[in-house]
Subunit: 137 residues, 2 copies
């Protein structure tokens, strides 16, 4: 992602463009493992020793509020960040503890249709996602 695209991503979310936000967003986008704030911090500080941990937490939070990233909790209760916005599910590997994206439009359509045809008593469904646990082969 080039400098201008990056800058646009940040400013179009209504956020001021800063060096810290740029490098944090860059790290997030090039991470495939849904890093925690701590993981983002350690990856970012290699090239940016001055950047503080508090800024990483605050920045990730700004991104969430600006709808640039999604936040979710893993099975240990840690907050994970994902720059992929479209709804999708996650694969939890019990061996490596890694979390991978699992996108499956067909399955999502099937579930959406299912909950349109089968209302849940007293509950209005807004969003459905899958937690898929297993092992990487």
């Amino acid at each position: 992602m080039d400098f201008q695209t990056l800058k646009n991503k940040i400013t179009s979310g209504g956020l001021k463009f800063t060096h810290q936000r740029m490098v944090i967003y860059e790290v997030l986008c090039s991470s495939e493992d849904h890093p925690t704030a701590e993981m983002v911090f350690s990856r970012v500080k290699e090239a940016n020793p001055g950047l503080s941990k508090g800024t990483v937490y605050k920045t990730l939070d700004s991104f969430v509020h600006a709808n640039m990233v999604q936040k979710f909790t893993d099975d240990l209760g840690l907050m994970r960040f994902d720059p992929v916005l479209e709804s999708h599910s996650h694969l939890y590997c019990s061996k490596s503890k890694k979390i991978r994206d699992y996108k499956n439009t067909g399955l999502e359509k099937m579930l959406k249709k299912y909950f349109e045809e089968n209302q849940i008593d007293g509950f209005e469904v807004e969003e459905v996602s899958l937690v898929i646990k297993g092992k990487t082969k």
Copy 2:
């Protein structure tokens, strides 16, 4: 649940029977809202002022290891406990922040069948559950 049933539940899990374990398990079974350890503690201590918070944490953990309760994380990263063992999904209400059980054997069969017919590349599925977010009507 009467005293004997309760006692059996605990001892058949290989755990010693104690007053603390009894009242904690009782509270869990009569709570429909998937309480956190803190919630269990505050409910238990009303009738048992002597019971300590550490014991609640340790006891809940024993129950999980003895396969008497399930543990999962909510969307805020808090640990929740559920005395219902069969696999089932959860409804997250964005208004009340309450979590309800959602059991649907038909849907589970459908998903199981789906992942038998549609293998995920490089991943062996062991368990699938749904995170259903929405609003209580």
